[in-house]
Every structure is written in C-alpha cells, then in structure tokens.
C-alpha cells in the first residue's frame, strides 16, 4: 500500500481523488481519459431509467469562482448507458455508478441495473438542485433519505453511497438517516442552489432559471458539511465541492473525508488537476510526517 492508497467501504483506490458525477462522464472514453490523468476512481454521470434530454441551453454560467449549472440530468437511460460504463471499467480503476429517480422504487431499479454492470459501488444522487422531483426534493428530509437507502440496499449487493444536498438546515441529520438506512458511505456536497441574472437582458441566464453552484465558491461550505457529518456518522465520507488544490483536498480529509471528488476544477485547471492534487498530497505527507491518508482523516476534530 503506497501512502496515497485509500480503502472506502472495501473499495481500494490508488489515491483519494475521484471524478465527480456530471463532469466528463457521459462517455466511457472520457472517463478512461480522466483515470489516465490520475483519478483514483470515477463516478459516472447520474442516470435514470429512461432517456432524458435535460434542460435546454443555456445550462451553464461561468463565474469568477465557480460554475452554475442546470444540466437537468440529461442521460440516455440506464440500459443504453451500461455500454459506457463497460468502457470506463476498462480503465482498471473503480467505477462508481451514479443513479437518480423519481421514487424509491425507481431509484432501486436503476441501482440494480447499474450494479449488474459490476460497478464498485452505487452513488445515489439525492441532491440535484435543479431537476424537479428528481434530486434534492427526493432527498430533502431524513425520512426520505432513510427509506430510499433501505430500498436500494435491499436491491443491490455492492456498497451504496448517499450523495446529499447542502441546501438544508442540517446535512448531518440527512447523513444519519442515510446511515440508518444502510448506506455504506456519504458523499457531500452536491451543488448549492443558485441563480445568475443577465442585467442587460433582464432575465435569468439559465433556461431553467435555477441552477447549482459548484467550484471554489462552495469549498468552505463543503468542508463545513463534511466536518458536521463526521461527527454524526461512522461510515466513510467522500468530500466534494470546490476541490482544486491539494490543500483543498487536505481540508476535506482533515474534516473527515476518506476521499475527495473533483468536477469544476477540470474546467478551471484541466484534467491534470488530478495528478497535481495527488502530487501535492504526497509532498505534504512527506513534509509533515504522515504515512497514510487515513492517518490524516478527521484530525481537525481533535
């Protein structure tokens, strides 16, 4: 085991960085390329039962400190998408299948088909802030989160991770509910509900009006969420939101994350951000006498 290797719910990763859902993972080949750029695992695009076009353009806004997106969960449907998953699996690194749905049963069904492809784990997107009835609405109360996790747990054998919304007064309660429901890990955070308006046109830019804020702007919120969740659950946490440098990854790890995901950083830095973050982690660990990522996990709680 090299110093950067981590184990999350039994999944061995060569380093603690993963590609986040929704960024460069519509196609298997793009996911493979991201693993070549250094990612220790990839999460797939969130897929549902049926094909879905997502929201019309404009569906993304570029801010100084991040992006607002309202893709609206476009996806070709789980059955067609399994071909892309198979290609991604050729990369040799763990592939985690992200799924969404409009009901417990639907999510369980998509998860089952996703698991049939042999993914390392299934990530439940309970937190998309811009797809009505499919994302955060479904995951906005502890009860819903718990029962969805239970339903999915009953239908798949692989570990399941619940991806939670920060648009709540208590993400820790959602995490506890997921743990109660049998989740094997928590992914936090999805995007913050946000909006951009174009003054000269006097209208919201996104066709969906509302979108989700990601990137540097949200990092301090994500770190806070992971810190709170670490105090509430015993299952592993995957930190996501604005990770752009090894320092950002360390903040998440010390707050309690076992691994981190990156999405928007690919826009601001390019896919090379994966190896840059890993190199930085390695150097930091050497300079500060840490022998493993696990050793650093949650130490900001001491």
């Amino acid at each position: 085991m090299t110093e950067l290797e981590v184990d999350i719910a039994g999944i061995r990763m060569r380093n603690p960085t993963m590609l986040a859902s929704g960024i460069l993972n519509e196609t298997g080949r793009s996911m493979v390329d991201v693993t070549k750029a250094g990612a220790g695992a990839v999460v797939t695009k969130s897929v549902g039962l049926e094909p879905r076009e997502g929201h019309p353009n404009p569906c993304v806004v570029e801010l100084e400190c991040g992006l607002i997106n309202a893709m609206g969960l476009p996806n070709p449907g789980i059955d067609a998408y399994l071909e892309e998953v198979a290609v991604a699996q050729g990369s040799g690194v763990p592939v985690i299948g992200s799924v969404f749905g409009g009901s417990e049963d639907e999510i369980a069904e998509v998860a089952k088909r996703m698991a049939s492809a042999g993914v390392a784990a299934v990530e439940l997107n309970l937190s998309c802030p811009h797809a009505e009835g499919l994302g955060a609405e479904i995951g906005s109360t502890p009860d819903m989160v718990e029962s969805i996790c239970k339903a999915v747990k009953a239908s798949v054998d692989v570990p399941i991770f619940a991806k939670l919304t920060p648009n709540t007064s208590s993400i820790a309660s959602l995490a506890s509910a997921a743990e109660e429901g049998g989740a094997d890990g928590i992914v936090a955070i999805n995007t913050l509900r946000a909006m951009a308006i174009c003054p000269e046109l006097g209208r919201p830019i996104l066709s969906n009006r509302f979108g989700g804020l990601s990137g540097k702007a949200v990092r301090a919120v994500g770190v806070r969420c992971v810190y709170e969740i670490f105090d509430a659950v015993t299952i592993p946490i995957i930190g996501v939101g604005g990770v752009t440098t090894s320092n950002d990854a360390l903040e998440y790890i010390m707050a309690g994350a076992t691994a981190v995901q990156m999405g928007t950083a690919i826009w601001s830095e390019g896919a090379g951000v994966f190896s840059d973050v890993c190199d930085g982690l390695g150097e930091f660990m050497k300079a500060n006498g840490y022998g493993s990522v696990e050793e650093m996990k949650g130490i900001a709680h001491r």
Partner: protein, 263 residues
Amino acid sequence: MPIDSGVRVFVITEQVDETPTIRTVHLDGSMHAQPGQFVMVWVPGKDEFPMSISYPGERFGITYKIVGEGTRHLSIMRPGEKIGVRGPYGKGYSIEGESILVVAGGTGMAALAPMVEQAVASSASVDVVLGARTQSELLFRTRCERAGAAVHITTDDGSDGSKGLATDKAKELLEAGDHDMMYTCGPERMIVGLLELSRTTVVPMQASLERYMKCGIGVCDSCAIDGKHVCVDGPVFSHEVLSKLSDLGRTRLNTSGGRIPID
C-alpha cells in the same frame, strides 16, 4: 471589472442575407478571436448554440443557416435587439503553409472565411474549393475572391462550377498542385473523405468538427469524440488527432447523451 457570468450582451446592428438560407448577424462590439474559434450564442428565451465567428475583430458577426427553432428566432430578430454571447471558445486553425487548399461544404465557409483572409494576408497562395447544393447557396464566394484566393466552385446540381462533390475537386487540385496544408470544415462524411485524401497525398490537414454542445467549456461531455472534447480540444483538430478518432463520421451523442450514428 468584467461581468461575472461570462455572458456579454451585444446589440444587433445588421442582418445580411448571404444565401436564401444563410444569414450573417453583425453585432455592435468587437470579438477578438482566432479563425476557427466559436462562441455560444444565446437567443434570449429560446436557445443557446455554438456558432463559428465568421467576422472576428471590430465588426463582430456570425453566419448561420436557419435549421431549427433557435436559428429561426435569431433570423427574425431586428437591429436594436440584444443577444448574449459567451466565448470565444476552443482552438482555431493554426495558419501555416505557403500553398494552401481550403475545402468548404455547407456553412463550413463561415468558420473558414476569416482563415482564408488571414492566410492570404500572410502571403500564402490559397485555393478555395467551395461546394454547395446549388449556385444560390454558395457562401462567401465574393468574400474569398476579394481576399485574393482562387475560388473553385462545385455544386450538386451543376448550376455553377463543376457538378459534383467538393471532395472530387479537392482531389484534383491536391494531385495536380503543390499544396502543403489543407483546411476544412463541413459535413463529417466530407471530412472523412478528405482525411483519406490527406493520407494518400501526404498533405497534412486541419478540420473543424461539429458536435452537440451544451456547456461549451469542457465539463458536460456532450461534445465528446473518443475522449476529446470539440469545445475545448477543438473544434479544429489536426490530421494526427483526426486519424485516431474512431467515432469520426460514425457516432455522436444526442441531447440525452445517447450514442447515435452520424447520417
């Protein structure tokens, strides 16, 4: 301080009919870009889509074919109305070579015209093969001639120039001439044909591709082709990259991210 959203709003100054189905919209500001780069054009309340910058610089303009809802709406907008633009995005043509062959099909000339002008200005000798269905659909013929390029016309119906495909004309010129670089933009099956020609004649080429684009900035993967992204790695790709793309001319993603064959 720049506007923190990436969107710049431009007032339409003029709509110019280039052909019965193709128009140029000129805007009230400047857009500095390399030939071949594109912008995302936001027709408020309707759609946002990628368009090559056909007039870079001070008299910023894009040249569009009316194919659907978005372009139809753009076409009925009047001077004084506003559209949003983000970009320029992507990598344009790298202009090199002393004797250049440019092959344009359909609206491909929109991306290529600024390239032709720049190449002639840097004293290259430029042959342009301009193909269209019929005479009235030939785009930027006069513009190329005025720039100083030798324009070779092909039409499907023979109404002007030689009847037939642009690729046939290109083959003829390549085999006869001493071209050291080929540039193209147009239907993918044409590009596939030219790629084969490029291989046999050993004249390197650069081609601009089109894929369905959502973000335009390399995050959504909808413009993926073999792990490359047309929006950030392209739209212009070199011969070397093109020849390795197994999806070229075969499959692309639809709006749901589903893989569909290229017609």
